[in-house]
Symmetry: C2
Subunit: 252 residues, 2 copies
């Protein structure tokens, strides 16, 4: 093996959610590449090179990482959350498949992490306690028709739905359109959770209903969870509220 | 607050995948409850009590944990993987909802972990790189008709499908039935991965096709991934194979 490339998941943000294996993979690298915000969480050790880049540069970053590893370097590409969920691992394999020689002799590894929906779920209870799906609302890479079809089928299947990339400056209406569509398929009192910056100092969590959800602000740092028919909100005597989906399902 | 109850995800097994926050939550507990196999991964510190129990005792364990916390103790309930995915967190909230007084004054927390599908995905590439769903095949808690409906809709939506609890001694045919059903909806060459005991010394990963999948053995420690239409297998010059799902989707 001439070099090494590890695609590393840093988790949602806090050091307590960074796995020891991910931390070791970063420490072991000669060069660390990634989106500026994720690289910015780390501190370079002596002699280590950090190469931050823009969020929309995934394929360029993946090719660059493979080229550096082909020179014999130890390279880490970092993602927030888990690198395999709407993140850098797929981008690296897209480059590898298009140009198999780019990976010749490189020891490629993927180091998993706590993805955003698990962290969001933990902070509000157990909304993913039963069957669920994860859908990216980014339509840079697929059509809105595909997203719409998938949302309708997810509602029919009664999955809890985790929406990644719900909105951006370029697509502010995406989440509103998705919520409007789901409102055609599910009851207005369906539990909806907006979990923003989970685990960070500016964390905010809004528990609402499908009927009221369009009024909640939402950005790229927000994970949106739409409950299934069985997802429920429970109010505690201490004023706290929890959301969970029971493990069992009664027959209709 | 009279006591504390933290439902903790230990990750798939290796120490490198146990988050520092989960490790700290276990160390901080006076009493640790959980399925024997998960408690068995840990070493009690001086004065700490371990209370292992059978896998089918979730609700009894949840009620017991709440009762201990109500006495003012610091209690940890441990799950493998993430506690919110087909695991103990939902069981605790089921007990809390049925008997709200059981949670009076208890500081309840959930500590997330790396769930099995993320670890399995990392070890074979990036199969969860695009929209996906997670379905438990255990029919103790829902009917087979519900599972069947959900599998058909997941196939129609073209999700990558992660199957948890694919088989047990009591339900050896569950996975075979699910694969037969999916074979009616998806092409025979669809990529299927059986990932058993990922991260453990006895890890084994089989990459196969939907047509050949019924011949692969499978147990409760196996996570089964069924690819979408776009999931692909790539063969490397070094003999290694990777499975990934591209981030983009071309139109039909």
């Amino acid at each position: 093996m001439s070099g090494q490339l590890t695609i590393v998941g840093l988790g949602p943000g806090p050091a307590g959610w960074l796995t020891p294996a991910a931390e070791a993979a970063v420490a072991d690298a000669d060069i660390v590449l990634g989106y500026t915000q994720y690289v910015g969480r780390l501190k370079p050790r002596d002699g280590q090179i950090f190469e931050p880049s823009d969020n929309r540069e995934e394929l360029v970053r993946a090719a660059r990482a493979l080229a550096l590893a082909a020179e014999g370097r130890r390279v880490a590409v970092v993602s927030g959350g888990d690198p395999g969920v709407f993140a850098m691992a797929a981008a690296v394999f897209e480059v590898v498949e298009a140009d198999p020689k780019s990976a010749d002799g490189i020891d490629i590894r993927v180091e998993p992490g706590v993805t955003a929906m698990l962290a969001a779920a933990a902070h509000i209870g157990a909304p993913l306690g039963h069957d669920f799906c994860a859908i990216s609302l980014s339509d840079n890479l697929k059509s809105w028709a595909t997203i719409e079809k998938r949302l309708r089928l997810a509602a029919e299947a009664d999955f809890v739905v985790a929406l990644y990339n719900p909105a951006s400056k370029a697509r502010p209406d995406q989440i509103g359109n998705a919520l409007a569509l789901l409102a055609e398929c599910r009851a207005p009192e369906t539990v909806v959770v907006f979990a923003r910056a989970v685990g960070r100092p500016d964390e905010s969590i809004d528990i609402t209903t499908l009927a009221a959800a369009p009024d909640v602000a939402c950005d790229m740092r927000t994970l949106v969870l739409i409950g299934s028919r069985t997802t429920r909100r429970i109010e505690m005597a201490d004023g706290r509220a929890w959301v969970y989906t029971p493990r069992f399902e009664r027959e209709d």
